[in-house]
């Protein structure tokens, strides 16, 4: 049986964000035709999803202890002067995101309002969640009682179909047309593309994604070297911060030395002559399925091993130098 284990599946959170992207992008479907079929929110109501590229500068802007977690995007309609802060939830109180803290931040932080919500007159918060965490999400919103209007959409896989049904299940949109449309619900085909648009992506999953993209860059490149900066800039669909991408690339080369190595100042990747793709894929899959804690542990072990190896090498060099000196 050649079917190989494929546990490194799409995260539910990724799926939710990509469903919203699908609802707001122009999709060129049809048998190769370039005629676009707009996502329903774009086609009927002119809403576009904008994603903020999570920047290292956020710490400077919001302060180091601001508990700032970037939202998953902003649904905006300039004509109606409306912007909706979108937060996708596949589970409540995940590793780094706490819904209560997020609601507080999105509704009350003046800097957040100034940067992301100005100059729109109408603003609200939209929680897009799976059916599993709908009750909890609604309970938190009711309990918190934010001053900003809050709405919840639930994304549910339709039975006997591949489509997802997206429906407003809590609150009322300021835009009456949007409220009516989403109140009735919309059916959306599952995404055919997956972009790196989850700012909260877990470290092992990000590492696994980067391994895949490094493999692609390596085989597509005519040069054996690649600048990390250049690689990161090429990931045009990514919202992950430069610093986090750079650090993860460094982790990747510690965990998967088969890919190649970094130069001394860790800015240039020197690819190895890749042959054993299956081995890299096995390692990638393993990394992807690690928990955050296991990933850190693995990284620590790999770094120690690397350090020991280097020390042994240096000791070996020193030993070989003695007889040469004696001669």
């Amino acid at each position: 049986m050649v079917k190989q284990s494929s546990e490194c599946l799409l995260d539910s959170h990724d799926l939710l964000v990509n469903v919203i992207i699908k609802m707001t992008s122009a999709m060129g479907e049809g048998a190769g035709s370039l005629m676009g079929v707009n996502g329903v929110l774009k086609r009927d109501l002119d809403y576009v999803l904008t994603l903020d590229k999570f920047r290292d500068e956020y710490e400077t802007i919001f302060g180091p202890h601001s508990h700032f977690h970037p939202p998953d995007g902003f649904l905006t309609n300039p004509e109606k002067s409306t912007t909706i802060t979108v937060e996708c939830k596949s589970g409540i109180d995940e590793d780094e995101t706490n819904l209560k803290e997020q609601l507080f931040f999105y509704s009350s932080n003046p800097r957040f309002k100034e940067i992301f919500l100005d100059p729109y007159e109408k603003t609200e918060i939209l929680i897009v969640c799976t059916e599993d965490c709908l009750t909890d999400a609604c309970a938190i919103i009711e309990d918190y009682g934010t001053t900003t209007n809050c709405v919840v959409w639930a994304v549910k896989k339709k039975s006997q179909s591949d489509e997802f049904s997206v429906q407003k299940r809590f609150g009322k949109h300021i835009d009456a047309d949007l409220n009516k449309m989403m109140g009735e619900g919309k059916d959306v085909l599952p995404p055919s593309n997956v972009f790196l648009v989850s700012p909260h992506i877990s470290p092992p999953r990000l590492a696994a994604e980067i391994i895949k993209r490094l493999l692609s860059s390596f085989v597509g490149s005519l040069e054996p070297e690649l600048k990390i900066k250049q690689f990161i800039e090429k990931q045009t669909d990514s919202v992950i911060s430069y610093k986090r991408m750079r650090d993860t690339i460094r982790y990747v080369f510690t965990l998967v030395p088969e890919l190649g190595e970094l130069n001394e100042d860790k800015t240039i990747i020197n690819f190895k002559n890749l042959r054993n793709f299956e081995k890299i894929q096995r390692k990638r899959r393993r990394i992807c399925n690690l928990s955050k804690y296991e990933f850190e542990q693995e990284l620590r072990n790999a770094s120690q091993k690397k350090r020991r190896k280097r020390k042994l090498k240096e000791a070996d060099k020193a030993q070989t130098k003695i007889p040469m000196f004696l001669n």
Binding site: K3, G28, G32, L189
Partner: protein
Amino acid sequence: MDEETSTLTFEQFVSEATEQVRKGNSLSGVIVFSENDAWRNFERVISRFNIESRIWTADQIDTAQNDFFILRFTKRADATNRADARRRLFFIKVVTERESNQSCTTLYVFSYEGSELFRVFKSLVEKTRYMWRGWIGSRFLERFDEFVRSVYLKELGREGAEASTVLVKFVLETRDVKSKDRKGSSINYEKRSEEDLNKLRTFYWKEFAELLYVKKGKYKITTNARYFSVALSDRTEFTLMEGDLLEFLALFKYVLFYARELRDKFKKKILINKSQRAVRATNETLEFLSFDKIELIKIDVDNPVISSWRDNLVNTFSIDHLREFKLLNFVLQEGNPYFLAETIDLENGSRTYVSMVENSIRISPAIEQTEPSTISKLFSVLQSRVDPSINLIERW
């Protein structure tokens, strides 16, 4: 090697080639697409080839015509004795120059050489970034007789089309979908009807769990005063065994149109809009993304030959490394039947998504734009390992 030029013109080559075919020497050829003027860098590719290849060396011979040149291969062992060396020639004609609104140039390549040297030439093309052999696929070969009749209907009218006969033989490759590699065996099959071919396919599938893929078709085409005997492969490679080259090219140009239409449809883009916003208080700049347009290829599988085509697709794209096609696969979602996988083409690094929803398959780019050569490869995978009825354009 010294730079040489030849006085041969394309017109002289065509008449000489027709004479050679008449004498019994078959002429092979292939359509090569070159994106972004990559063919103009051929000399650089050749010099790299000369460093890497142990057996062959190559050099380019220009002619007085700008759109016609010759590629010469020499065995390294023969190179020292240049007078006795057997020179193997590939004649390259630029069919359509890249125009301002097009990013692609089309080349015809001809040679009297057999499969061994043609393989060397193919590997040279494969190693050249943005150059690739045209693709027409298995389904087109299966229905080539219909295609020929439709061309003659246009060219010669109803009478000419009715008078035309096309005798067809296929070389069928067998593939076990659960195996990483292609099976070595091929079957020769004389086409009686599409139903008959499908019956054979169903039989092979039920009895041996194998799929039959038309890799090559051998056709004898007769109409009015014209007669050709030609073999055609899914990658637009042809071997003219009998007939007039000029008349054959008059027919083959329609194959080129078809390959070019496919190539254009294989290019799919993602438009990501980037915008920046300044933060007054800290003088920082923030960047925002929006996915303005996502193009994709949608293939409806309405009349599959293999009822379990969905399982075949899942099995195929669950193979980590599909060596035969030089593809790396990553499964991202396994639903029922929603399935999403990402592939990396090991020849150019292009990343592409393949997904399946109910009765359709979707192919879309992972970043910026799909590489047509990768999409053609994916179509070969779909036709040979998922269902032979899969195709993008079914009208001639």
